[in-house]
């Protein structure tokens, strides 16, 4: 009996996600797609990467940011992430530690190297711009399934590639968005494009994922994320490079003392 149980469970899962979903409501189908997207990115363990940001305003003036990031995958709860700032130089050495939670607001500590002070900050300001860019803190934080409610919109295409279009609404009342439209690649279950609608439900920003690379034969990571603000005419190109997975990070690498050492 036992031998047969596992394959049948897998069959049920596949049915839930990929089969013609006449038995599901649009909400159930949206959630199933989001859950499968999350499942396919489960098991990476940890990773580190270098981030660059090119900020451009309406007049075409540019400004650059450089950061390094490392993430430890959460078991049970959300991921833990550390971001260390390298440029602009006046914030060099500043570091941000985030504990993502699935069912409550995230915990964040900011290390200010000039004073050597670690400040617990209110993650309430998640809707605010990250480093003056068009990315909000909430756009960059770990995308846990529980942070949104979902609704399937339609099967569609993006540049000839079949997509699921789903709508997701942030659960957190402090989010800067009423809703987001997400285009998810049907074969790879990875986001390709997100439209963000502000609190007045007008289109605010569009995020496009470019140059996806596959790591460890399973995990897709975009090398470029291009965010365009339709209301201000500003845009930010976020580039990721030197991805390295499974560095053997432990909980101890994501504590306040490691924040002070992170150079």
């Amino acid at each position: 009996m036992k031998k047969h149980l596992l394959p049948s469970l897998i069959l049920i899962t596949i049915n839930l996600v990929a089969a013609p979903l006449w038995a599901q409501t649009l909400e159930e189908k949206g959630l199933a797609i989001a859950t499968e997207t999350d499942l396919r990115d489960t098991g990476f363990g940890d990773f580190k990467a270098e981030m660059g940001m090119l900020l451009r305003n309406k007049q075409g003036e540019e400004s650059q940011r450089f950061m390094r990031t490392r993430t430890l995958e959460g078991s049970g709860d959300g991921d833990k992430t550390m971001i260390i700032f390298d440029r602009p130089r006046d914030v060099k050495g500043t570091a941000l530690l985030t504990y993502t939670h699935k069912n409550s607001s995230d915990d964040q500590w900011l290390y200010l190297p000039a004073l050597k002070r670690v400040k617990r900050i209110a993650s309430r300001n998640k809707s605010g711009p990250f480093m003056g860019s068009e990315f909000a803190y909430e756009d960059l934080s770990s995308q846990e399934v529980e942070k949104y409610t979902y609704k399937f919109v339609e099967d569609t295409e993006l540049e000839g590639v079949p997509m699921f279009l789903i709508e997701r609404d942030p659960v957190d009342k402090y989010s800067g968005y009423t809703r987001q439209l997400v285009w998810i690649n049907k074969t790879e279950y990875r986001p390709e494009r997100i439209e963000f609608y502000d609190r007045k439900n007008s289109l605010l920003k569009t995020l496009v994922f470019r140059k996806y690379q596959k790591y460890l034969d399973q995990f897709w990571r975009a090398e470029e994320m291009y965010m365009e603000n339709h209301q201000t005419g500003k845009n930010t190109l976020l580039t990721w490079k030197d991805y390295k997975f499974r560095n053997g990070y432990s909980e101890g690498d994501f504590k306040k003392n490691s924040l002070k050492r992170a150079k």
């Binding site: 006046d90 209110a122 300001n125 605010g128 690498d253 306040k256 150079k263």
Partner: protein, 384 residues
């Protein structure tokens, strides 16, 4: 711990700052200046190896002041070797440590001597020689410090503003203990984060960073203040609760050995209005109450005061920020105003402005010596 790289990484960075200070009123002592320029240099060399488990940081500092030769000073802010394991850390050398949560007053922060030549706000510190061991466990972090060498507070010279009247004569400094600067200080701290709460409990035994003063005369027969450093025991608690838009903060100390035993506390909140008027701007409202059990005989001006402040953060590309506030003594009605603003220009420049003013300071208030020292300071920093 595993760092970012397996190779040795060495790096130099630094900053050069030019600042001008202008005092609007004539000084109490005619020897004191009205306006002056000063240059500062700070550089940092850091090197990490052993997969990031070991590192060395060296950070010298130099200030050259046009007017006052006391404010011209050199310091080694940091020169420390760090070795880290999975849940522990060892530091040996000269380092800087910050404890505490409040903004207007820093009661709990005691490891480093204050560099008040840099800024009267008490946030600039001199490097402190130390051996430190930390361990991070599920039940919190424990830091143990051995501090073998005491740094005296440095005082402004005869020509400088923002000094006591009469001036302090550090050459006559007295110590309670015969070991003087060699008296070994010890400190222990437990800190932990539980949900929305960040807690710290600390104890310090050793030479008080804050001196008491007695009246004396210098070689030429002028009145001077003579600093004296006592051996103290200080226990402290610092707490912050981070609840949505509210940060609730409390620092409290109990000190013995420095005159009569006393306690002091600073507590309040910072409330942030995020994205005001549908913009990216944040506005923070700060309120803190300060109390010192010693009342009028306290060695700090913050004995029964209230701080009210506003922090405006533009969240723009240039990181524009303004913090303004007033501290009012609720018994004497004396007032201290403070305004700080800063903005980045390009990728490597930063300009800042600071304004400070005293109002209605009575003769018996500790701040009276500075009541005519209102100033505006403009600063330009280039980062390398």
């Amino acid at each position: 711990m595993l760092g970012f790289s397996t190779q040795t990484i060495a790096e130099w960075s630094g900053e050069v700052g030019l600042e001008g200070r202008w005092h609007m009123q004539s000084p109490v002592d005619p020897a004191q200046y009205d306006k002056g320029l000063s240059l500062s240099f700070e550089s940092e060399y850091s090197k990490s190896w052993d997969g990031g488990n070991q590192s060395f940081v060296f950070k010298p500092f130099l200030r050259l002041d046009q007017i006052d030769d006391k404010r011209t000073h050199v310091d080694i802010r940091e020169a420390v070797w760090i070795k880290a394991g999975d849940d522990w850390e060892f530091r040996l050398g000269i380092d800087k440590v910050y404890w505490g949560v409040t903004e207007a007053n820093h009661l709990v922060d005691i490891i480093n001597q204050t560099d008040q030549l840099e800024n009267p706000d008490g946030e600039q510190k001199l490097g402190q020689a130390m051996i430190k061991f930390s361990t991070e466990r599920d039940w919190g972090t424990v830091d143990a410090y051995f501090l073998p060498w005491f740094r005296e507070r440095q005082f402004a010279g005869n020509r400088d503003r923002l000094r006591s009247q009469p001036r302090v004569d550090a050459s006559q400094t007295q110590y309670e203990n015969d070991l003087e600067q060699h008296y070994p200080d010890l400190a222990l701290r437990w800190s932990h984060s539980v949900g929305d709460w960040d807690l710290g409990l600390s104890h310090f035994h050793g030479t008080s960073r804050e001196p008491s003063f007695s009246l004396g005369t210098d070689g030429s027969g002028n009145s001077v203040l003579i600093p004296r450093y006592a051996i103290i025991d200080q226990s402290s608690l610092d707490v912050q609760a981070t609840l949505d838009d509210w940060l609730w903060k409390l620092e409290t100390i109990y000190r013995s050995g420095h005159g009569d035993s006393f306690y002091a506390a600073t507590g309040g909140f910072e409330y942030t209005l995020v994205g005001i008027a549908e913009t990216d701007n944040d506005l923070g409202i700060l309120l803190e109450l300060m109390y010192d059990d010693r009342g009028a005989s306290a060695t700090t001006p913050f004995n029964q005061d209230v701080f009210l402040g506003l922090r405006w953060v533009a969240n723009d590309t240039q990181s524009t920020e303004v913090l303004g506030g007033v501290i009012v003594d609720w018994s004497s009605q004396s007032k201290f105003f403070n305004l700080e603003a800063s903005r980045r220009f390009g990728d490597n420049w930063k300009a800042s402005l600071q304004m400070r003013a005293w109002l209605d300071v009575p003769l018996n208030d500790l701040a009276f010596s500075q009541h005519r020292d209102d100033y505006i300071e403009a600063k330009l920093v280039r980062y390398f």
